[in-house]
């Protein structure tokens, strides 16, 4: 904390306070809750990838959609396609997991939340972080966070497929509880995806003259409104996808059996 | 002792100071900016409404002549007409120039600078940014200084080669060589170390004197330093009796009493009501304004949508009228619970519109008073806001009577006459800041040789005194008593016996101030700083009180209970303040106001001038009109 370049060393010292923070509120609560929430998602996701009961006509579990391997039951295959042949022996969910996973991993909100709760950098405002050195996202590997917008494109595709899945379910089982859970999930996933900062940038954020692009400006205004709710949408869609996924699996496993399941 | 040599030293880093410094530097002069606060914190940030400039962007009928007329009318014809003329003519250029330096004003539909209505201005005229125009102005000028420094860094390798900011540095004395200015002595607030500037030209841009009053919208810096420094250097002040009390300051909570509620609240539809719910301003329209203001609520309300066919609401009368009206309502027992009146915008505009148009007012009331102005009315009352009086200067160059001394902005006098229109202050800063900077540069160019400073030791000894004394007066107590005295006895409404009483108290306080002691070290010692500032506040307060006692009429920012009328005879007279040779007090002499140039006075109707001018002057007017 001392500087050697100072013209007068007395002047160049920070106030000496040997405590990490003087905050008196429960500043640790938010990072602790975030940590718990994100951990539950990771653990659930890990289990779901290896769980095989991801399809029960007409529902497909969101974690495993689109199903693109020959190991997928024919009804589960996306548009009937199976580009990955018998040689592919791993769970089909792994094939597509990278897109939504990467989208969330590089999402500006999730970055904030895990930098704070996992890496404690910083755990809360005006609470010292425990690391000796810090370079942030200025070099590898974290500089890779800048590819967020590609994951956004990918996430759009996944969002569209989940919407398609929900519509299929609606067509085949309009009265099913699962159908409506999938629809709710698709809506949340799509709004979360569209509320993304990269999306906001692409619509018109990159322009300096909104007035010359009235349509794009309107899109930007709409996305900006969603973007203000990016954090709640991130959490809502994270839980909705977990709930929808678990629900389909429980139906597939025969745990949930009531008539309108 | 630290010593620096400059061509021009500008004291004060508000709008006027920065604009002066920019001009001096652009003319190739090595310029120092010395300010008591950090760079960019000056009181100019508090200005909310806007900068008046007759650009005619919103109403193309507007031009400099209309602006000139409004300014003279607002000042009750006591203005230095040459200043009012220059101001009206040059303000648009000064505003446009800011835009080229990066300012982002609110826009009209066709992309020009938007202009808003304000009290006393006939057309929408105030260039603004929401209600934080002052901040925009100061930031733009600050960034212009930085841009010049970047230029100098490229050219000379040193960003501070031609313009340097000495922040948190207070000037206590101007230093002279014979009759002429030779420099200044100051101290660093941070260390308490003294610093000498060698400079043939000094521009005063120190702002006002509000800290001599308890209820004021002014910040701690406003201790009348420039006014006092000018007097101590032998210059003269004019119009010191004219102090503007802004009609709408916050009255609650006590700690923020006096903080401004912008006039835009009224310009955008806010109305004043007393405890009986009456829009009382209709009862207070003076005769001179009768034909310009609405007489019914219906007409006033129509004006917001159709300004061409309706007269404006009386809430937008000049500030002195509104302040007196509020004062009268409160005195008559029709005030609000905390001693003000109600300013209501909540029933007049939808909540979203209020937060869009008046964001910082919404914020200020929410955070400081826990009042949501979209739901309930504000309580407001008059607050000491601006001094029209100041250093007597030459209109074209800002030069004071002491060679090498210049002044611009609030510290200079004359431009606003007896009352300043809202919005004319920001444009005043720009127009006369630039002129004073240019005037100083030209003065330096014309000097045969640089002056040498004298009196450094005496000035230093004077400043250090409170620190060396032990067991003296508490400067905070002296200050507090001065504030109460001025507020109660030389406030909005004045009486001869009260002013005399105030002068007696000031005499006693002067003695006590000579004996103040500040405990602690020289490093950032606020008690010591206040003890030094007290000298200035006392000199200025005495000047205000003495001038107020002499002027036996009521005009603009000077209302005498014992002389309620406006007198054409007094309009011809200016009160000139100077320091007695032993520096123990001030004395006042009368000076005749020069007659307005023929082409300017012809801009007015005879019927209007009859309310202000003497018969002799009207005869001159008739001659001027016949000639043209």
């Amino acid at each position: 904390m001392t500087q050697t370049t100072a013209e007068s060393p007395v002047r160049k010292q920070r106030a000496q306070l040997r405590v990490r923070t003087l905050r008196t509120d429960r500043w640790w609560l938010a990072p602790a809750l975030t940590f718990a929430g994100l951990m539950s998602f990771l653990i659930y996701g890990f289990w779901a990838i290896f769980d095989k009961s991801y399809f029960v006509d007409p529902y497909i579990a969101p974690f495993s959609s689109p199903c693109l391997a020959t190991s997928c039951p024919p009804g589960a295959r996306f548009l009937g396609l199976a580009p990955f042949g018998d040689w592919y022996g791993l769970p089909p969910g792994l094939l597509i997991l990278g897109l939504p996973g990467g989208f969330r991993l590089t999402c500006y909100y999730y970055r904030k939340s895990y930098y704070r709760s996992f890496w404690l950098s910083p755990p809360a405002c005006a609470v010292a972080e425990p690391h000796g050195k810090y370079t942030g996202e200025s070099r590898l590997p974290l500089i890779l966070q800048n590819i967020h917008r590609y994951f956004f494109y990918g996430a759009l595709v996944i969002g569209a497929i989940l919407t398609y899945d929900a519509i299929l379910a609606l067509v085949h089982k309009p009265g099913g509880l699962g159908t409506w859970i999938l629809i709710a999930n698709a809506v949340l996933i799509m709004t979360y995806t569209l509320s993304c900062h990269s999306c906001r940038h692409i619509t018109a954020g990159r322009l300096n003259h909104f007035s010359r692009h009235p349509l794009r400006y309107r899109a930007w205004t709409f996305v900006s409104k969603l973007n203000a709710k990016h954090q709640p949408l991130a959490w809502a869609s994270m839980f909705s996808v977990m709930i929808a996924d678990l629900y389909v699996r429980l139906v597939a496993k025969g745990v949930i059996t009531f008539p309108f399941a | 002792m630290e010593r620096h040599e400059y061509d021009v030293v500008v004291i004060g880093a508000g709008g006027a100071g920065l604009r002066a410094a920019i001009e001096a530097r652009q003319q190739g002069k090595r310029t120092a900016i010395v300010c008591k606060s950090l760079f960019g914190k000056a009181h100019t940030v508090m200005a909310e409404g806007g900068a008046a400039a007759a650009m005619g962007n919103v109403n193309s009928d507007d031009n400099w002549m209309v602006h000139f007329r409004d300014t003279m009318r607002g000042g009750k014809f006591l203005n230095n007409w040459r200043m009012a003329e220059l101001h009206a003519k040059e303000a648009p250029d000064r505003v446009w120039e800011l835009e080229a330096w990066g300012a982002l004003f609110d826009r009209t539909k066709d992309g020009k600078i938007s202009q808003r209505n304000f009290g006393g201005h006939e057309y929408p005229r105030l260039a603004h940014v929401g209600d934080r125009t002052g901040l925009e102005l100061i930031r733009t000028l600050q960034q212009r200084v930085v841009a010049l420094q970047q230029e100098d860094e490229k050219l000379h390798g040193d960003p501070e080669a031609y313009i340097k900011v000495f922040a948190e540095c207070t000037v206590t004395r101007l230093l002279k060589d014979g009759d002429a200015i030779a420099g200044a002595l100051g101290y660093w607030r941070e260390t308490g170390d003294f610093i000498v500037f060698d400079a043939p030209a000094v521009v005063l841009a120190t702002g006002g004197i509000g800290k001599s009053y308890v209820v004021t919208s002014n910040s701690w810096e406003y201790t009348g330093d420039g006014h006092a420094l000018a007097l101590l250097a032998g210059a003269k002040l004019i119009n010191m009796e004219f102090i503007q009390f802004h009609p709408t300051g916050m009255v609650w909570p006590p700690s923020v009493r006096g903080i401004l509620v912008t006039e835009s609240v009224r310009g955008d539809g806010g109305v004043l009501r007393n405890s009986e719910g009456r829009r009382f301003m209709f009862d207070y329209i003076p005769d001179v304004f009768k034909d310009k203001y609405a007489t019914t609520e219906e007409e006033a309300d129509r004006w917001y949508d159709d300004q061409a066919n309706n007269r404006r609401p009386p809430e937008l009368l000049p500030r002195d009228e509104v302040a007196r009206a509020i004062n009268a309502e409160v005195k008559a027992g029709r005030g609000s619970p905390q001693g003000g009146v109600f300013l209501d915008v909540s029933t007049r505009l939808p909540a979203a519109e209020i937060t869009r148009r008046l964001p910082s007012m919404h914020h200020q009331f929410k955070e400081l008073a826990d009042v949501d102005i979209t739901r309930e009315p504000m309580q407001v009352g008059p607050t000491c806001h601006y001094i029209m009086g100041g250093v007597e200067v030459d209109a074209d160059t800002g030069a004071a009577s002491v060679p090498g001394l210049f002044a611009a902005g609030e510290v200079s006098g004359g431009m606003h006459g007896s009352n300043r229109l809202g919005g004319n202050s920001l444009s005043d800063l720009l127009v006369f800041g630039r002129r004073a900077g240019a005037g100083a540069a030209a003065y330096v160019d014309g000097l045969p040789k640089r002056p040498t400073v004298t009196g450094v030791e005496e000035a230093r000894a004077e400043a250090i005194l409170p620190l060396e004394r032990t067991g003296g007066e508490n400067p905070y107590e002296v200050h507090h008593e001065l504030q109460r005295t001025m507020n109660d006895l030389v406030g909005i409404i004045r009486k001869a016996e009260e002013i005399r009483e105030a002068l007696e108290v000031i005499e006693k306080l002067k003695e006590r101030a000579k004996n103040t002691a500040a405990a602690g070290s020289r490093i950032y010692n606020p008690g010591w700083h206040l003890a030094i500032d007290l000298r200035n506040m006392l000199i200025v307060s005495e000047a205000v009180a003495k001038a107020a006692l002499l002027r036996e009429e009521s005009r603009g920012g000077h209302t005498r209970d014992d002389y309620p009328g406006m007198s054409p005879e007094w309009r011809r007279k200016l009160l000139l303040v100077s320091l007695t040779p032993d520096e123990s007090g001030v004395r006042i002499e009368e000076k005749v106001q020069p007659s307005m140039r023929g082409d300017l006075i012809s801009l007015f109707e005879r019927s209007e001038l009859e309310k202000y001018l003497t018969e002799d002057e009207l005869a001159e007017y008739d001659a001027a009109v016949k000639e043209s």
Partner: protein, 250 residues
């Protein structure tokens, strides 16, 4: 309605110092700065505090109250319990001069490192035509009162003095965004935001936004959009390819 409040205030000069206890009267409607002024007037005349407008408009009285960066003039005493001890310390990130006054020259240094507004040379004053929607984004950033609390709270420099060289801090990265979004600014600023001013150090943990007394959405509206603009310029092969093709065809 007054009561006696317990205050602990950091006092000292040039780094050396300690927390000192005071008991001081508090009246209804007061803010922390009022209480500090009362201490000055009654108990500690040389207690140093920087302040100016007392209305949350100048950004001078930045300090840390119970460990959180706040403006002293905008922190109402009614937000505390009467029994609570209120701790007031100077901003941590900057060297302390005395008591609550810190040396914020770092910020003025950084301000000077950002190239100024650069309009096209052929537009004269008075000829600027801008639409309201085009200036609104930059106007939000110009609400900044330069209290420097975002600079103070940002862990990049708060916890890592050594990063002060490379990192301009939220306030000045926002200044870059303001200029980059200005309809008339012609300077290329994206590259230098990343290379010279340390935009990459920001890990968008949003403390700057949390402490901003003007409620400017520094992270969402300035820093992230700026990061995205940098991606356009430096990390997006599609945009790069597109601009190559476009340049060639035009």
């Amino acid at each position: 309605m007054g009561y006696k409040a317990k205050f602990r205030i950091w006092r000292g000069e040039g780094g050396e110092g300690r927390l000192e206890d005071f008991t001081v009267e508090v009246n209804e409607g007061e803010v922390v700065l009022d209480v500090i002024h009362r201490l000055q007037a009654t108990q500690a005349p040389d207690l140093a505090v920087r302040w100016n407008c007392k209305a949350g408009k100048c950004g001078s009285c930045s300090m840390e109250i119970n460990g959180r960066p706040r403006l002293g003039c905008m922190t109402r005493m009614s937000t505390f319990e009467e029994t609570e001890t209120i701790t007031v310390t100077p901003m941590r990130t900057f060297p302390v001069i005395k008591d609550l006054v810190t040396d914020v020259s770092f910020n003025y240094q950084k301000a000077r490192e950002i190239p100024s507004f650069t309009p096209p040379s052929d537009v004269k004053p008075g000829e600027y035509r801008m639409q309201q929607v085009d200036v609104e984004r930059s106007q939000e950033f110009r609400k900044c009162i330069e209290c420097f609390m975002c600079q103070n709270v940002c862990h990049v420099i708060r916890d890592h003095e050594e990063n002060k060289q490379a990192f301009a801090g939220p306030r000045f990265l926002m200044r870059i965004a303001e200029l980059d979004m200005h309809p008339y600014d012609v300077l290329e600023r994206k590259e230098s935001a990343q290379e010279d001013h340390g935009l990459g150090y920001c890990n968008i943990t949003k403390c700057c936004t949390e402490v901003c007394p003007e409620h400017i959405k520094i992270t969402d509206n300035a820093l992230i959009p700026m990061k995205e603009r940098v991606v356009d310029r430096k990390y997006d092969p599609l945009v790069w390819l597109g601009s190559k093709i476009f340049k060639r065809s035009s």
